[in-house]
Amino acid sequence: MEIKPLTRVILGLVCLLVAIWLVAPTLVVVPMSFNENKSLAFPPQGFSWQWYQNFFTNPDWSSSFLNSLKVASVVAVLATVLGTLAAFGLDRMKAGSANLLRMLMLTPMVVPGVVLAIGIYAVYLDTHLVGTLLGFVLAHTILALPFVLIAVSASLEVFDRRLETAAASLGAGALTAFRTVTLPLILPGILSGLLFAFATSFDEIVVSLFITNPYLKTLPVQIFSSITRDADPTVAAVGTILLFATTILIGGGMLLLGRERKGRQ
């Protein structure tokens, strides 16, 4: 269909407006992080690096950041292994029971976070898991698992199982066939599951607020308590750092993936 020049201009303007609408709140934190005064007022006044300095030197911030990294890394690995195994099992089960099990495993995505948080908190009180690394890892794995399951299942859906038969005819046992044929072909799904799992754990706040204690805080919990206690621009500095880190990570990943696709075709 032919688009008239005027329509094209209007369409472009609308798109630009929507884009600004989506990105603006995120970009507001960048100037705020350089504020000279200890205030989150916008527009900021003056220029200073002090809040970045505070993030790296204040143990409250740096330890919570390291905690989040630790928890998210373990969760990413654990959820990816469990989720991949689950996706594999469900893929090779009879459709009826597989669908039922799949729905069961996806419930953490559907159940309201607060409800889940209350349940987990109640159990953790009895088992003394509140404020422990293990407690955070277990709770976040529950939340991250569905994302891995969905990503890997999607990869398995398009995987041609006849390739495993061919591998068997060439001398590969079930495990060898999985390692040399199935795994490399579903790896993009596993990796995106891993990324989702990491992200889910890294910015989880609702459940974390329930199971945290003064000795073990994750970054989102620290941000939340900081902003409710003393509107400190360090929050904005953290936000800016995370914004750039994720942009580089995801942008780089997309570039790499795009190049690989091009090489293959």
Binding site: D160, R162, L163, T165, A166, A167, A168, S169, L170, G171, A172, G173, T176, A177, T180, V181, P184, L185, R264, Q265
Partner: protein
């Protein structure tokens, strides 16, 4: 390349092999002996059991009962990856994440062949299928025919004593198919291993095979060379499946040595008879039928049937006519272009010798399974 060595291939013995899926019998007591180095084709319509047989031999499917020996050894219960049998699939099944070279090297890597030997054998296998220049390409960069040649190289690179092929040319166009048939024949000659080939295309079976096993509804109808199956079909199904044929049905009367068939008032005789109570039908090959205008003198002792030309097809080297007989059935006649030609709707007579008519037991399933 060395000439074919018969000893390089494995013999296969299927002894009353059955495979049931619930109540459905995919294979119903199949017995077949394939000689070492032989090119055996399993021919039949879809659902006849030919692919199931191949899967049973490859180890992809367990058999329900019966015996299976490859190279004299019982392989029932041996998993597919320990059978050392090459398999070529209709869908190529190349690994998309590996280059052509790595695909072909895959079975050698699994067998722990050292790198220098591996490279030499991969190069030799790719040369054999004329894909030597493509080792660094990826499967997605190749055409269907090229992919299938790589798949063939991958299936023969580890020198299996037996190669199974499941409709390997089914997804390719006719010209390419015919060329690859000759390539497969050449490779079979050069390797000297046993080839088992599954197809539903009777022409392909005739081009390739030493012997053909014709499958129908989970059973083998007949095993023989192409010539045997064409000239001496054991059943009506085989007669109809291999080559063109005309089947005459009518009221039968049989004396000691010959059988007469009355079709819409006209009587023809065949100089044989069949045993048993089955209703006899006559099967005639197109080249055994002569076509002429009514009233022309016929050869001595020839049978005559009247009909009209329903279809005239020009085939280049010859013409093919479909003649509608008085009882409504159709006869297929091939006649050389040098002879007379006939127009649509023209009344004609068909003549044949009683000795050329095959008398077979009627089988209502023979027609319905034809495509």
């Amino acid at each position: 390349m060395k000439p074919a060595q018969q000893s390089k291939g494995a013999a296969i013995d299927l002894e009353s092999v059955s495979k049931a899926y619930g109540g459905f019998k995919a294979l119903d007591g199949v017995s077949l002996r394939i000689e070492p180095g032989e090119f055996m084709t399993l021919l039949g319509p879809s659902g006849s059991g030919k692919t199931t047989t191949l899967n049973v031999v490859a180890g992809f499917t367990d058999l329900t009962s019966g015996k299976l020996l490859v190279g004299g050894k019982n392989v029932v219960g041996v998993p597919a990856h320990k059978r050392n049998i090459g398999v070529v699939f209709q869908h190529y099944a190349l690994f998309p994440h590996m280059s052509v070279g790595r695909n072909v090297a895959y079975p050698l890597t699994l067998r722990g062949v050292d790198q220098a030997t591996r490279q030499a054998r991969v190069a030799r296998a790719l040369d054999m299928v004329k894909m030597g220049d493509f080792a660094h390409r990826y499967p997605s960069e190749l055409s269907g025919g090229q992919q299938q040649r790589v798949a063939l190289a991958r299936a023969i690179v580890f020198d299996p004593p037996l190669l199974l092929m499941d409709e390997p040319l089914g997804a390719l166009d006719k010209k390419l198919r015919e060329w690859l048939q000759l390539e497969i024949k050449r490779i079979h000659r050069e390797l000297g291993t046993t080839f088992v080939y599954v197809t539903h295309d009777q022409e392909e079976a005739l081009v390739l095979s030493d012997r053909i096993a014709v499958f129908n509804r989970g059973r083998i109808e007949q095993v023989g060379t192409g010539r045997q199956l064409y000239d001496e079909p054991a059943t009506l199904f085989v007669g109809r499946f291999i080559g063109d044929s005309t089947v005459l049905r009518g009221e039968a009367r049989s004396d000691g040595t010959s059988t007469a068939l009355t079709i819409a008032g006209e009587t023809v005789t065949a100089s044989t008879r069949i045993n048993g109570d089955a209703r006899p039908v006559m099967l005639l090959r197109p080249e055994k039928l002569a076509i002429r205008r009514p009233g022309q003198s016929a050869a001595d002792g020839a049978n005559r049937l009247s009909g009209t030309i329903a279809e005239a097809i020009y085939l280049g080297s010859e013409s093919k006519y479909e003649v509608k007989l008085a009882d409504g059935s159709a006869a297929i006649v091939r006649s050389p272009l040098t002879g007379e030609s006939f127009g649509l709707g023209e009344p004609v007579e068909l003549c044949f010798h009683g000795a050329d008519a095959k008398l077979l037991a009627d089988d209502s399933t023979a027609d319905t399974t034809l495509t």
